[in-house]
Symmetry: C2
Subunit: 501 residues, 2 copies
């Protein structure tokens, strides 16, 4: 049954969802409904592109992903076919048809994130897509020593339940540690958490009911968008200028929408790398105080600064208790231990502890004790210094490689710290999602910019984690990225051909 | 200013809140409002008891707790006074008067739990109040070996972010482990969590919106009551008979209230120790299927059975996918590693993973790898066998001590496993909350039964964790408990004096 068919696909050309994603969705639906039975040959990509009046690369990408999902199969020289076992790895609907699972419908970023997961298992792909710090600097031996020392010292006590607030000596060590950043707080206002992610989640749960509003920078940390979705609170992003979140827009939003929380990352913002200058920090604090809205400050990248003047966290400037400060030892040292903290000196603390206790009783006591020992031994400071020296070196390699390989018209920041380059592809070419599968095929991956926006913007943006790759791989990865773009860009008729050189 | 005053205290004699808690609340309010200024002498306990027509012990307990909180101070032979620094450690109201902290008002069990915290730091107190397993059997050396092996084998990989679903080999090991309990499941339906507590919390968050209803046994696991409060869902307990949750009452409740989830602990229920027989298990499954309501099965004590016929978990009997099974390695081995799991074979899995990711990205990879190695080396089975042998021995000591020392008229269960004795004091004497401070003063603590009920019942109940104490301490602790009761019971005029012998 080698029959070829003509596909009827209604496309939304003005929507947020990339064309190739719409294609994937429609073709999948037709396979699942039986409209496209197994064995049917699909039109050649060039033909379908012409028929639908879209770029050929959209079709190529859609077919590639449908092949990866097992819905289609390709036979060299013969074309692309609906696969026989197409239903094999499709998500089935709720087996017992029972509980209504409350869920926003599949959003564009959901499918983009599914696509980004492709990169995980591909051997040979240079992956700039992670949010993780470079692993080769993890202090494995120091940690091993620390754990052995803790088990010798504390025995089974280290393996019992810890208090929900955290291991007391670690809480005191965090107090001392943040005092070096200018933050004064009591140890009894330190809550130890399962990484910064849990800290953020606890604050959102303690302060917001379902349907209430959190306001953030736009773009913002992906994990905060996840939290908002999981906790069914609304999230709204405010544009940024060079100094960070725009206060005029923020104030208008506050007046109109009464948000319960302002979430910001003032130093080395993820994904943009921006650092909010001192005057903007003070203005933001004033605004928050004026409208009495707590600020949730995310400081996870604060200490990863290798250039520029060091600025105090908002919490260090806070004399009214309006700031809740969250950070962790993940980015700089040991993500796998999952140790973070929240500092708050207002009335939220007790409620946070109760939410923490309901969430998981307490954070692993063994891990808390190990981190405590590493702090006490001064190994964190050493670790940071070595890390930042190397991150700066890699940043420089990345900047040079960007200059050399990224398409003309691409723009990027010059980060003063952290692990990310935040780039914008020329609008005349493929966007970051459209480029993705070709990039993977060429052996390079990145984070697609869309996913960091609360409103689906940023389609031509990409976040490149140079921190996790060795210099030679950064160079090679950027080279592949440029090559992938040039291959795709042929399909963009309105593109300046000189850019392909 | 040694002036003594007459207190005006309106008491609610029919309410859920124990009289002595009401006293504490009223006296504190009057101190905070300035009605009772520093230095004022309070009436002698006997006088106030007569004036208010309540038992003297209520006054004694209230004064004792207010002293412990720093609101009152006692001067031997001169009486009890409002303390000068009374405001020193009082919770202050929200400093910036800002965000409305959503919070149910202080419930009786909140203050009872505060009271139970007193026992934590008291030296010399034999504490039967914990929910923890005996620490002396924690496999410290085995864990130490496992961690060192993992770090040698995996190096920095063990310290990076783990996948949100968990470390794959551990997920497969859990699948194999539960198959020995009769549960068939795929490794790709195993989600690793931060202990059973996080597993329960994730399920509640994934399946319920604020205000929706979860139905449980009454009494039930305290941590589930915490979750309901923190997540703002309603919790309703159904009475138990000897076979566990009453199905007639449950069915009526389902018809009237449309709960989203049925939470049960069929084997060695906490706190009652009950084991649901096979026929009730099947009936419960039928009921859940009939009304299409998922069952959340908590299996944390399942393997701690040292007597009686072993019964399959609900999940092993489930052929429709209605059961979500939660368990952990905490109770039997290593609470401080915080490793638990959820098994579900219906459509909830993907949503659970997303909620997990929002909650804390992933569970510590190092800890997951260590547990995996312990499982693989067969050390869990060894550990369990040794544990259960000793638990049975301690259970027998506890039963004999209860017979010997607990007040006549006290009733208790004969647990077939686990770590708890669930006792009921005679109604004619002080209840468990009233007895508590005297018990602490005599050097013994327990969990006050109230806190396990969703509706404030169980005032004469207490949960005694014999598992964490050595036999000699069990004997001595029960002796102290009997003595505390007899001391207090003098104040109960309607008590049979022969019981005091």
């Amino acid at each position: 049954m080698l029959n070829q068919i003509s596909l009827s696909i209604p496309l939304d050309r003005d929507g947020e969802e990339p064309i190739y994603r719409q294609l994937i969705r429609h073709i999948r639906m037709q396979i699942e409904s039986g409209t496209l039975p197994a064995g049917v040959r699909l039109p050649a990509s060039r033909d379908l592109a012409r028929q639908l009046n879209i770029s050929r690369i959209s079709v190529v990408n859609a077919y590639a992903e449908l092949r990866a999902q097992g819905h289609l199969s390709a036979h060299a020289g013969r074309g692309t076919f609906v696969s026989g076992e197409a239903n094999g790895n499709m998500p089935t609907s709720n087996g017992n048809g029972s509980t209504p699972i409350i869920e926003t419908q599949t959003s564009p970023d959901r499918s983009i994130r599914e696509m980004m997961r492709l990169a995980r298992n591909k051997p040979g792909v240079i992956n700039f897509g992670h949010g993780a710090p470079p692993t080769e600097f993890f202090p494995v031996q120091n940690l091993r020593d620390a754990i052995n020392t803790v088990l010798d010292r504390d025995g089974s006590t280290a393996l019992g339940y810890e208090a929900p607030e955290g291991f007391s000596p670690l809480r005191a060590a965090v107090r001392d540690y943040v005092s070096a950043l200018g933050i004064r707080c009591n140890a009894d206002r330190v809550l130890i958490t399962g990484g910064a992610q849990q800290a953020l989640d606890l604050v959102v749960q303690a302060l917001l009911s379902e349907g209430e509003v959190i306001v953030t920078e736009n773009p913002t940390y992906l994990g905060m968008i996840d939290i908002a979705r999981a906790r069914r609170v609304q999230i709204h992003g405010i544009s940024m200028d060079d100094d960070g979140i725009r206060l005029d827009e923020l104030e208008n939003f506050i007046i109109d929408n009464n948000p319960r929380l302002i979430y910001v990352m003032p130093t080395l913002h993820n994904p943009t790398g921006k650092v909010m200058p001192l005057h903007r920090r003070r203005q933001l604090l004033n605004l928050a105080n004026e409208y009495n809205i707590p600020i949730l400050e995310d400081g996870v990248y604060h200490e990863l600064r290798f250039e520029g003047e060091s600025l105090p966290p908002l919490k260090a400037l806070d004399d009214t208790g309006i700031v809740i400060h969250v950070s962790a030892f993940s980015k700089m040292m040991l993500p796998g231990l999952r140790i973070g903290y929240v500092l708050t000196d207002n009335g939220h603390y007790e409620r946070l502890v109760r939410v923490k206790q309901a969430a998981d009783i307490s954070t692993s006591g063994l891990n808390q004790r190990a981190i405590h020992l590493l702090l006490e031994r001064g190994l964190l400071a050493q670790q940071l210094e070595r890390n930042n020296r190397e991150l700066k070196r890699r940043r420089d390699v990345a900047l040079a490689a960007a200059e050399k390989y990224l398409p003309p018209g691409t723009r990027w920041n010059v980060p003063e710290g952290g692990i990310y380059l935040w780039a914008q592809l020329p609008k005349s070419g493929p966007n970051a999602a459209e480029l993705y599968i070709t990039a993977i095929q060429m052996g390079v991956a990145y984070a697609i910019g869309n996913v960091f926006y609360t409103n689906g913007c940023g389609s031509h943006r990409m976040r490149l984690n140079y921190g996790t790759q060795k210099p030679a791989e950064i160079e090679e990865g950027f080279r592949r990225l440029g090559r992938a773009w040039r291959e795709l860009a042929c399909d963009y008729s309105d593109i300046d051909k000189s850019m392909l050189l």
